[in-house]
């Protein structure tokens, strides 16, 4: 009971936040009614996907303060599970998605156990390494198409196929991911108020202190990492059905991992709205940059420069990102 109440209860946010959030939610819901280019639509879907990746990252990375730069491996596990099962055995999304989550969570326990013995930068680097290793394995693994990847060909199905999540028009994908997005917000809203949520913030605050308050620090981190992983894997499964063409290079690359972490940090690590704000800034920016630079060869890589710039700004100015700035201004006003 209290679980449901906590998930639905946003009353600790000021009215202004809730008004803005409500307005944004409404805009999202009616967004497809506007005459849109397919470019705007796909950018919007990307935004929602990355907001969800960011929310998942935010549990362990934001509330827990464990900078994780290996989320792409779980995008990959989710995407590949769904794609392989659909292509080989015609298993629908709603079955393969939870199975993907199981695989991803199992993998997260296997690597989380040793990884969380590491601290700070070592942990971050180790997450990169495991992600790259998994990508390398997928690149030579024939069963999953090796470096060529997998292709879900929509001709074989009869879109709209709600079981397999195969659609011709993006609007279906939009509403599905929007549904996940709202569920994701409710979940994180519950999480941040759960015992584990508080314990994680205490761990981020001071680990010895957390231990002396009866918190099994290692286990709390592993559990949260599994939660983050589940989130990412669900969206990975969706990604397979939406993109239909997955390769290790674009589902599991380091770029994706960094983008996920960076976005959440830019918006505000450790806050409910942070990852959404971060995705709202970075994803359109990235899409438009790519579109705009598409014709101008030689300027590729500008997104990397942009990332570097953001990292510098965050670390120098406000570690808690855009949301941190907003909160600071509010505190100053109140004081």
């Amino acid at each position: 009971m209290e679980t449901i109440k906590n998930a639905l209860d946003f009353s600790d946010f000021p009215r202004l936040d809730l008004t803005v959030a409500g307005a944004v939610a409404l805009c999202l819901i009616i967004f497809p009614l506007f005459p849109l280019s397919s470019f705007a639509m796909s950018t919007m879907i990307q935004f929602l996907m990355f907001a969800l990746y960011g929310m998942g990252w935010n549990t362990i990375g934001g509330y827990g303060g464990q900078v994780d730069l290996g989320k792409a491996q779980y995008v990959g596990i989710g995407a590949y599970t769904t794609a392989v099962m659909l292509i080989r055995w015609d298993i629908p999304f709603w079955v393969s998605m939870p199975i993907g989550v199981c695989f991803a969570v199992t993998w997260s326990f296997i690597i989380g156990y040793p990884l969380f013995r590491l601290k700070g930068h070592y942990f971050a680097i180790a997450t990169i390494a495991t992600s790259l290793v998994l990508k390398d394995i997928f690149e030579v693994w024939e069963f999953v198409g090796a470096a060529r990847g997998l292709e879900i060909s929509p001709i074989k199905y009869h879109p709209p196929d709600f079981l397999r999540l195969i659609f011709r028009e993006d609007i279906y994908y939009f509403y599905f991911i929007l549904g996940f997005f709202f569920l994701g917000i409710l979940y994180i809203n519950w999480f941040r108020k759960s015992r584990l949520g508080y314990q994680l913030r205490s761990i981020k605050d001071n680990e010895d202190m957390a231990r002396s308050l009866g918190i099994n620090v290692h286990w709390a981190k592993i559990k949260t990492y599994a939660i983050a992983t589940g989130f990412v894997s669900v969206v990975g499964s969706f990604h397979a059905c939406y993109i239909k063409n997955i390769e290790p290079e674009d589902t599991m690359s380091l770029d994706i991992s960094i983008l996920i972490a960076l976005m959440a940090m830019l918006g505000g690590a450790g806050s409910l709205w942070g990852p959404i704000i971060g995705a709202g800034i970075l994803i359109p920016l990235k899409s438009y940059l790519k579109e705009w630079l598409g014709a101008q060869a030689g300027l590729v890589g500008i997104d990397l420069i942009l990332y570097a710039l953001i990292i510098m700004l965050i670390s120098a100015y406000e570690p808690r990102g855009v949301w941190g700035i907003i909160e600071k201004i509010r505190r100053r006003k109140r004081a």
């Binding site: 015992r195 508080y198 314990q199 913030r201 205490s202 001071n206 231990r211 002396s212």
Partner: protein, 248 residues
Amino acid sequence: MTLLEVQHLTKNFGGLTANDDISFHMEKGELVGLIGPNGAGKTTLFNCISGLHAVTSGRIVFDGEDITPLKAHEVARRGLARTFQVYVAAGDLTVEENVMVGCFMKTASRSRARAHADQILRELNIRDLSDYMVSELPVAAQKRVTMATAIGSDPKLLLLDEVAAGLNPNEVEAIMASIRHVHDEMGITVMLIEHVMELVMKVTHRVIVLDYGRKIAEGDPESISTNPQVIKAYLGERYVKEQRSSAG
């Protein structure tokens, strides 16, 4: 009833013996002081008892159970809480949230944790700090917050590491009142490390003195304050002068 029994506890850091064959015990309901010069091994002793450090040799029995091999969180769950001498709040918890983390040891319900936290904050007279970030408070207030947090876990034994360090006389009065309240009203057995002798003399029932990792004396506050060995090792001129000036 014996709540804590430390038997021949030794802790080495490489070549340094920070705790050297220390034995003592505490009865339920006692309020014991632990004093000694800087580097005597007081904090190390707390770290060993609370399971943050593995002991080199010796045994620690808490509430009838040998807790020597247990990890810090396991020790805490058996009802042994502590504060830290040096506490760096790196995160963004408010005072209330911080205390709630302590309360979450005994309950998974947020509303119950919050109610308990508010009650503790009220009892320690720091309810008005509830919404501040711990990291933005002055050290004195932070110490009272960490004390409240430790109490949140509903301990049988509370170890306080220099909660009065660096406080002005008014603040010392306030924290002394809090310690008494915790002991008398909440019924928690307390052991405290303190350099503020006034506090030790006024609130404790019994004092243990460490010097160079060894226990050099133990007894009631008056006998400790006149013990020549303790005066030589620790209290020294400083204390004698203090006594004289407060008398005059």
